[in-house]
Amino acid sequence: MITILSKIPSDLWGASAYIFSKYAPLFYFGARNTLIIALSGTIIGLIIGLGIGILRALPVYDYDSKLKHSIVKSVRFITSIYVEVFRGTPMMVQAVFIYNVFLPVFKNAKLFAGIVIVSINTGAYMAEIIRAGIQSLDKGQNEAARSIGMNNFQTMLFIILPQAIKNAFPAIGNEFVVNIKDTSVLNVIGVTELFFQSTTVAGIIYRFSDTFFVTALIYLFLTYSTTLVLKYIEHKMNLGGFDGPQSQTTPLIKAHYVEKEKTS
C-alpha cells in the first residue's frame, strides 16, 4: 500500500506559513490579476459614471424646444435603466450572463472579460456617486459660471465636475476597495484572480481553512494598503495643492486658509 506523508504543519499559523511559502507564486499571480481588474475596472467605471452623470445632469428649461425635452427625457430613462439593472443584480449573475453572451470574445481572454464586467458594474455605482457629487454643489456655482458667459459644457467641465469629483473622491476610492474584494466573484467564470488561485491551492493540498486564512490575510493587505494610499491622496487634495475652483459651501476651504496662516 502506498502512503503519502506531507510536511504541512497541523496548526493554523504553521500551516498557513508553509502554504504561503510553498505556493506564493500562485497567490502572487492571483493578487496581481485581482489588482489589475479592480484598478482598470474602477477607472473605466469612473469614466462611464462621469459620462452618465453628465448626461443625467443635462439641464432643460421651459423655453427649450419640445425636441430637446424629449431627448433629455429619453436619455434619462435609458441611463436609469442601466443604473438600476446593474445596481439591482449581483455581480456574480452579471458575470455569468455577460460572459456567456459574449463568449466568442471572452473565451480566450478571461482577464479582459473580468475587466469588462467589473467596469460595467462599477459604472452604474459611479453614475450615482457622480450624480450625488454634482447635486452636493451649490446652485450658485452653476449660475455664477453661466453669468460670466460659460456655456453648459464649459460650466460642467471647468466648474461643476472638478468640484463634484473632489467631493465624491472618498466614495470613488471606496469603490476601488470594494472592487478588490468583489473581483472574487469572477472565479465563477474562471478568471484567475486571487480567490480562484486559492481554490487551486486548496485543491492541491485538501486543506481548506488553512489556505483561505492565507487568502484572507492577502485580501486584507491589499485593501488596507489601498485605503492608506487613498487617505493620503484625500489629505493632499484637501490641504492645498489644489488650484481648481472650489465651492464656497465646502467648509474645508477654511481649513486650507487656517493652515496657510499657521505656516506663514
Binding site: 503519502i4 500562485l26 481554490t199 487551486t200
Partner: protein, 272 residues
C-alpha cells in the same frame, strides 16, 4: 435599443477577430487541476506537467488524467493544451467549444450522456469513506456500521447518489470540491465523505487526522462497473476524436494504468 445591440454585436465581432486564435495543431483538454492524483496544480515545471491555460503564473497541471490526455494528443500528433475549469463548468465548456475533451476523473452516467459522448473507461477504482481518526466510525467495517452517520459527497457526482445506500444516513448537502468535503470532515461537520481510493490517499496524506475506511466485497457500496470507472468525454458529434481516444485507451493495459496511477501518486506536490 436596437442600435445599441447592433453596436455591441459589431464590437464583439471586431474583438473576436482580434482575440488570439486557437492554433490548428492543438487539442484542448479541460480538467479541474484540483483532484489529486487524477489532476492537480503545481508551482514548478516538470517533464510530465503542462502549463495551465498556456499562461505563466497559473501553475502547471499534472496527474494521471494529464498523462492520459498526453497519450491521446500524441496519437493525434497535436500539442496538448490543459485548461483549468471548475467541475460544474466542464460540460458547458466542452459543448461551447472552449475545450475539445474532458479528462477529469469523470464517470460515464446516463444523465451526462444526454449532453456528451463518453469513451471506454480509462481507470477503475473502489469507493471508500474518509473519517477522522478519533471518530466513532474509525473502526467501521461495513456500510451498516455507518448507520446514523452524517455523510457528504461532491455535488453533481454519482458519489452523492450512493450515499443513500448507507442505512438511516444523514445525507449532508453536497459541496462543490474535494477540498471543501475534506474541510467538513476535519472540522466535524460531517462524519464521513465519499471518495475514490487514489484520491483518498492524497487527502489523508495532507490531513493526518483523517483515515480511509475501505470495504471488502459485499460490505461496501453497491456499484455497477460503469459507476466506478472514469471515462474521457467529447462532444456528441465528435465521433472521429472518440474513435481515436478509444484506440489509444485500448493500447493501455491494466498494468500500465496502475503503474501510471502509482507514479502520479508519488509525483504529487505534497508527496515525499
Amino acid at each position: 435599443m436596437k442600435k445599441l445591440l447592433s453596436l455591441f454585436a459589431l464590437i464583439s465581432i471586431v474583438l473576436s477577430a482580434c482575440s488570439a486564435p486557437v492554433a490548428e495543431n492543438q487539442i484542448v483538454v479541460g480538467m479541474e487541476c484540483a483532484y489529486a492524483p487524477f489532476n492537480w496544480t503545481q508551482v514548478e515545471a516538470s517533464d510530465t506537467a503542462f502549463l495551465i491555460n498556456n499562461e505563466k503564473g497559473t501553475g502547471y497541471c499534472d496527474g494521471y488524467d494529464v498523462q492520459i490526455a498526453k497519450a491521446i494528443a500524441d496519437e493525434l500528433g497535436k500539442d496538448l493544451l490543459v485548461k483549468k475549469i471548475a467541475w460544474e463548468g466542464l460540460i458547458d465548456s466542452l459543448n461551447n467549444g472552449e475545450i475539445d475533451m474532458i479528462v477529469a476523473g469523470m464517470t460515464d452516467t446516463a444523465d451526462r450522456r444526454e449532453s456528451v459522448s463518453f469513451s471506454t473507461p480509462y481507470y477503475q477504482s473502489d469507493l471508500v469513506l474518509i473519517v477522522r481518526n478519533d471518530s466513532s466510525y474509525a473502526n467501521a467495517l461495513s456500510l451498516k456500521d455507518f448507520s446514523g452517520a452524517t455523510v457528504v459527497a461532491q455535488k453533481g457526482t454519482f458519489h452523492d447518489t450512493v450515499v443513500e445506500q448507507i442505512p438511516s444516513v444523514d445525507h449532508m448537502t453536497p459541496l462543490g470540491s474535494f477540498a471543501l468535503l475534506t474541510n467538513s470532515v476535519v472540522n466535524g461537520e460531517a462524519d464521513a465523505m465519499v471518495s475514490e481510493y487514489p484520491v483518498a490517499l492524497s487527502i489523508v496524506g495532507t490531513n493526518p487526522s483523517l483515515k480511509i475506511i475501505s470495504f471488502t466485497a459485499g460490505n461496501g457500496f453497491e456499484t455497477s462497473f460503469e459507476d466506478t470507472t472514469v471515462s474521457v468525454a467529447v462532444r456528441k458529434n465528435d465521433s472521429e476524436l472518440l474513435n481515436t481516444i478509444n484506440t489509444v485507451l485500448s493500447k493501455l493495459n491494466e498494468e500500465t494504468r496502475s503503474n501510471w496511477m502509482k507514479d502520479a501518486i508519488e509525483r504529487q506536490p505534497e508527496g515525499e
